[in-house]
């Protein structure tokens, strides 16, 4: 779409112009924050980093183990996703669609269908990449659906956006599905857009019924979709995740 990309240079300057006062205000207020609050923030961040680091130590070992186990199963395991930090522009495009605009575009190599995450979980995917900005469709958009699995037992289903910023719908569940309130939903990696294993949401409370028919089940997204200023755009595995284990696979392929 070269025409759209060309015209977007004009319109993107508008987007940045609208965003400017708000980001400027945030910048100034962070400049003016006192020594005390900075010090407090620093200590809390340092503590958080300490905890994260110890958890990462464990994660390293687990990852190695996972690779070894997957090699035994002759299953592929892709590592090393590359990320780019992008900042949300404070603008509203269309009221009834959940589309956000970030300040990184094709000039940084962003392309459509890239998954977008934040520190808590999946945010959405890149919907359209323009030279200076890109539009991100959130997982809560009514037109968005994300393949997920229940972390507890690996039950596969699809989470569909509800149009509300704090709710996902799970319409495709059989009546006897083993799903409970509080279950963590993670990406299943099916479909090839989202890498497997990232948290998506927590299943909401729903009334237990006697005849085992499952009521309308919803989930709350993990990521703080309407508050976050910074998101991560991910370059995952380009290839589609294999749905079945390939038969002719040499052990050398599994070493990476």
């Amino acid at each position: 779409m070269p025409l759209r990309a060309t015209l977007s240079v004009l319109t993107d300057s508008l987007k940045y112009a609208v965003d400017l006062p708000i980001s400027l205000f945030e910048k100034v207020s962070s400049e003016l924050s006192s020594y005390d609050t900075l010090k407090k923030e620093n200590t809390s961040l340092r503590q958080e980093q300490l905890i994260n680091r110890t958890q990462l130590l464990k994660f390293d070992a687990l990852e190695k183990e996972n690779i070894r186990l997957r090699a035994l199963l002759e299953n592929s395991f892709k590592l090393g996703e590359q990320v780019l930090i992008a900042e949300l522009l404070s603008i509203n495009l269309v009221a009834d669609e959940h589309i956000m605009v970030v300040n990184k575009g094709t000039r940084f190599g962003v392309h459509p269908q890239q998954p977008v995450l934040d520190i808590n979980g999946v945010v959405g995917q890149v919907f359209r990449a323009l030279p200076f900005s890109s539009e991100i469709m959130l997982i809560t958009d009514p037109n968005h659906a994300i393949p997920v699995q229940v972390n507890r037992n690996g039950l596969l289903t699809i989470a569909v956006g509800s149009g509300m910023s704090n709710q996902l719908n799970l319409p495709y569940l059989p009546n006897n599905a083993d799903i409970r309130p509080g279950d963590l939903l993670i990406t299943s990696g099916l479909g090839g857009v989202f890498p497997a294993g990232y948290p998506v949401g927590i299943v909401d409370d729903f009334p237990e019924t006697n005849n085992k028919s499952i009521p309308h089940i919803t989930a709350t997204p993990k990521s703080l979709l309407d508050r976050k200023r910074e998101v991560l755009i991910v370059w995952g595995s380009n290839a589609l995740m294999p749905l079945t284990t390939p038969l002719s696979k040499t052990p050398a392929d599994n070493e990476q």
Partner: protein, 156 residues
Amino acid sequence: MNNSYSAMRIFITLFFAMCLRIVPLSDTLAPLNPDWVLLVLIYWSLAIPESVGIAHAWFLGILVDVLLGRHFGQNAFIYSLVIYACLVWHKQLRQFPVVQQSAFIFLCLLFSQLLFFWFKNVHASVQITGIFWLPIFSGTVLWPFIYQLMRSIRRF
């Protein structure tokens, strides 16, 4: 009036209208944000129909399509149709009292929103709620103020 001078005003007002179109609002106010660009464009087409025409509306619509991430030509098509109606009836519309003018604006906004709904449905069948129609009412209510403001800008 100097021609380049009025062109400058048209440009600046449309620039602010496009900014207002994407301004971040709270969740309750965001669905009420009317189509500022169309309202400002309607004003200019009524005030100086000899220099604001369908071609301007069409090009501006293309820009709004890019700005809002719509399919190409949606806004361009709608804006040109609405501006065509305004140009045809601009002599009568200028004589109308403000209430009657607002009624015409209501019809224009309703027409544009209906076309948006139709475009949305062509793309994929969609569910819309009542808030989809709110910009029509907010735009109609705001029209007298926009009209006064734009008139004072034009005569400034």
